[in-house]
């Protein structure tokens, strides 16, 4: 959408309104998630929360991120959480009468400090912000000539920041292996010799 179009002004206002409404929804959903004790409802709301944040990323022009968040957050995360609930509990235990005043105070003070910090930050969408002055102009101007793909996110991801992505892939690999070790290894061993587990096995076979 070219910015210089006649309707540019109203477009921007519209975008602002969508932005405000979506973020307000996210806050409402997040608070509902904190207050609910039925974990099934919490997981469903977390799917909605992810979907809202994906819409938010579209509004903020980060389509690749929106795509990923929609697939990962609303899809896989929800299913994994449901899988966990099936293996654990559906309800959270009611709280022991203890008004969490101290944590609330900590959170409010931290939040206030952060809000104070934002007062000096460049405003939303400001093209003069420091983040747009360094590195990014080079990617935008030269990546079609140096790397080729029209999608700059792909060129930066795979080429300019290839090391970074290699590291991220390794993290995913490591996390996956860790989950496999935690969840599948023990069951198989236990099925073969029931009482044995880890260091206990020697003692148990006596």
């Amino acid at each position: 959408m070219p910015a210089a179009a006649p309707g540019g002004r109203t477009d921007a206002a519209m975008e602002q309104i969508i932005d405000i409404v979506l973020l307000a929804f996210m806050v409402v959903v997040a608070i509902a998630m904190i207050r609910l004790r039925n974990l099934y409802a919490v997981v469903m709301l977390s799917g909605i929360y992810s979907l809202l944040s994906a819409s938010m990323f579209v509004v903020l022009d980060a389509v690749d991120v929106a795509f990923t968040e929609a697939a990962v957050g609303a899809g896989i995360a929800t299913v994994l959480m449901l899988g966990t609930l099936a293996l654990t509990f559906r309800e959270e235990r009611p709280p022991k009468r203890r008004t969490p005043l101290l944590p609330l105070a900590v959170v409010v003070v931290t939040g206030a400090a952060l809000v104070y910090g934002t007062l000096d930050m460049p405003h939303y969408g400001d093209p003069e912000a420091p983040i747009h002055q360094h590195v990014a102009p080079r990617y935008i101007a030269d990546s079609p000539l140096e790397v080729g793909p029209p999608n700059m996110v792909t060129s930066v991801l795979a080429s300019y920041r290839g090391y970074d992505t290699l590291g991220e892939t390794t993290v995913i690999f490591t996390a996956g292996i860790a989950v496999l070790v935690l969840l599948s290894g023990v069951t198989r061993r236990r099925q073969r010799r029931r009482p044995a587990r880890g260091d206990e096995s020697r003692e148990a076979r006596r």
Partner: protein, 123 residues
């Protein structure tokens, strides 16, 4: 005044979400709820980065003949990988939760600590 509020609105919402997640993590004893809190916190960080990368009137960073102003691609790249890494680490957290439930029969933090204390007393 209105301009300041509108210009910083996104950051403030990010802070509210961040604190909501933080609060869940420190107050709630249920481990699944803690993971959910961490996810809320995580998403707020994603929003912070993407908000910073946005340019007024810009378009998605895909080369197009009609466009001359693009959003900053760098935050997109960082957050795109962070989301997938985030789900992998969340899965790890959930796997630990499942194992804890199998060993202790509970997911409430104080009950787990109680069982641990009792075990220490027996030894």
């Amino acid at each position: 005044m209105l301009e300041t509020v509108l210009g910083l609105y996104n950051y403030w919402i990010v802070i509210v979400l961040m604190m909501a997640g933080f609060y869940t993590v420190i107050v709630r004893g249920n481990l699944v709820k803690k993971v959910v809190g961490l996810n809320i916190f995580q998403t707020s960080v994603f929003l912070l980065y993407i908000t910073m990368g946005t340019v007024e009137g810009g378009t998605a960073p895909i080369v197009d003949a009609g466009a001359d102003l693009y959003t900053n691609p760098l935050p997109s790249v960082l957050i795109l990988t962070a989301i997938v890494v985030g789900i992998a680490t969340t899965a790890l957290g959930l796997a630990l939760t499942v194992r804890i439930r199998e060993s202790y029969g509970t997911l409430e933090e104080d009950e787990i600590i109680e069982i641990e204390d009792r075990m220490d007393g027996e030894v």
